[in-house]
């Protein structure tokens, strides 16, 4: 049986449907997209070949760079805050009693299964400056000076939206880490306990190193997911006020569909795809390359 399933032909046969779908829905659409990015296109008519003019104009638009700054801020929040918190949550779940563990797993997954619109509306209510939860709490504990119009001030709008994004997906990453933790042989932990290792030492010397493949997977998912950050922005602020909270995907959508400049919109899309490929390559190349052995 293994002789038949391990041949290159059988591998090809079993992966062909997925490859076909990927090619048709992901790779093939790139071709007309690149073509459109080289033309002045309003979504209905091709108004002529413009070469790299769309790219030049897009790169010279201040909103484009604002969108990039916001996108990478979200990536930073997701990686520097989200991943460590997810890891800590997964480690916390691992040491609980079975009953509490079930509760935390359910609680962790719950935000991730809600629709983005629901989550965004919940957080919109939290951030409402006149009667929202956060400002009311601050006022009730005598910190009225700390209240803000969270979603209309430049300093607070992106971190506020980022927090809603973090809340929705931190549990999902924690579940992924937790699943990885459960695959680590118990022998290592028993040996470490016998040697008198503390909880922190066990985490740093055993758990995290043996989770490197899971970490790499979650890193790629989180990075690319953050790069594609759009829905929360759409519902919570519509990219506003002005263009303050736009992300790259939002800017792409706005340019193509709101201003009917599909050529420039697809140029932003092509630039975005290149960035994602570069980042994925860097993570694949430099993160968790070696096989760990104890």
């Amino acid at each position: 049986m293994n002789k038949y399933f391990s041949t290159k032909l059988s591998i090809f046969v079993f992966t062909a449907p997925a490859l076909l779908l990927f090619t048709v829905f992901c790779v093939y659409p790139l071709l007309p997209e690149i073509w459109m990015s080289l033309h002045d296109h309003d979504g209905f008519r091709n108004l002529g070949f413009v070469g790299l003019d769309n790219y030049r104009e897009v790169l010279s638009t201040p909103s484009f760079w604002t969108a990039h700054k916001n996108t990478y801020l979200i990536v930073g929040i997701s990686l520097l805050l989200g991943l460590p918190l997810s890891m800590m949550l997964s480690l916390f779940m691992d040491v609980q009693t079975p009953r509490l563990r079930r509760f935390f797993k359910t609680a962790a997954m719950f935000p991730a299964i809600l629709s983005v619109t629901v989550v965004a509306q919940i957080w919109l209510a939290f951030y409402e400056p006149n009667w929202g939860l956060f400002n009311r709490i601050l006022q009730s504990i005598g910190l009225s000076d700390w209240t803000h119009s969270w979603l209309t001030e430049k300093r607070t709008v992106m971190p506020s939206i980022g927090l809603s994004f973090l809340w929705q997906y931190i549990g999902l990453n924690a579940i992924l880490f937790y699943t990885g933790i459960k695959t680590i042989p118990k022998d290592y932990y028993e040996a470490a306990l016998l040697d008198g290792a503390s909880f922190a030492q066990v985490c740093l010397k055993i758990t995290i190193p043996l989770l490197q493949n899971v970490i790499k997977y979650v890193l790629i998912l989180s990075t690319l997911g953050s790069m594609a950050f759009y829905s929360h922005v759409r519902v919570m602020t519509a990219g506003g006020p002005g263009d303050t909270s736009r992300t790259v995907i939002y800017q792409m959508y706005y340019t193509a569909f709101d201003t009917s400049q599909f050529g420039k919109g697809t140029a932003i899309a092509v630039i975005f795809i290149i960035q994602c490929l570069v980042i994925s390559f860097i993570i694949q190349r430099f993160v968790a390359r070696g096989k760990l052995e104890f």
């Binding site: 119009s149 209309t152 519509a238 990219g239 006020p241 201003t259 400049q261």
Partner: protein
């Protein structure tokens, strides 16, 4: 309770009616000229429109976070008495007329050039949505389709009590006192200035005006910056070139 509320998210209110209103309460002729591209945002009377919005925002006329206040929450603030006044299209009057304490008044004049009994911003009835291309190969069929859709719309809006500009054959519904007051005020007004949002903006200018309008509602964006940005956009507006 705040003095007034309006939907501000994505610059909706500013683009669709507020900027025009704030310009024409100072100089209705300047507004009419802007709609027909006979002037631009270098015109001092046009510039005063954005300045009035900036003044209102900074004076606290609107609630905090107005730049991110969506349509539904804005209506809710008014109907739940958290805002004393609502700046809105008259399409909400049939709904709001159910509350007998609600009344309306046209925005006061900002100069002697404007008389609210002689000038009004005109959007039209809810039946402005259908047009037939002059280049269609099947004009008769296209007209029939547009007429069918317009009638279907009119019959629907009749059931809501909204004013419509199409004779459906049904007897007109009894109007509430507020609706009758509105019709009595609106119909005789001689100078109905068409909406800039519907009649003067290409897709890009329209989208960018929303962006700039939302900025204006934050209170952190000067009217001078708004007018400068709008003037550049206006010079690139392709609406009048088609």
């Amino acid at each position: 309770m705040v003095p007034a509320v309006t939907p501000g998210k994505d610059g909706w209110g500013v683009k669709l009616f507020m900027l025009q209103q704030m310009i024409q309460v100072g100089d209705p002729q300047a507004m009419a000229d802007l709609v027909s591209n006979k002037t631009n945002f270098d015109n001092p009377s046009v510039q005063e429109g954005a300045a009035r919005i900036e003044t209102m925002v900074k004076a606290g006329v609107f609630p905090d976070g107005i730049a991110n206040l969506d349509y539904g929450p804005a209506m809710e603030m008014f109907t739940s008495k958290k805002a004393a006044m609502l700046m809105m299209f008259t399409w909400e009057l049939p709904n709001l007329a159910k509350d007998e304490t609600v009344d309306f008044f046209p925005f006061p004049a900002a100069s002697d050039k404007y008389d609210p009994t002689k000038n009004v911003q005109f959007w039209g009835s809810p039946l402005n949505g259908y047009a037939v291309s002059g280049k269609t190969k099947h004009p008769d069929e296209a007209v029939k389709l547009a007429e069918f859709l317009a009638m279907a719309d009119a019959l629907y809006f009749e059931t809501t009590g909204a004013p419509i500009a199409l004779q459906t054959g049904n007897p007109p519904a009894d109007k509430s006192p507020l609706m009758q007051k509105f019709v009595d005020w609106y119909n005789p007004i001689p100078n109905k200035i068409a909406s800039m949002a519907l009649n003067s903006l290409d897709a890009r200018t329209s989208a960018e005006m929303s962006t700039e309008g939302a900025n204006l509602l934050t209170g952190e964006y000067a009217a001078a910056d708004f007018n400068k940005a709008m003037n550049k956009l206006w010079s690139e507006n392709t609406w009048f070139k088609n």
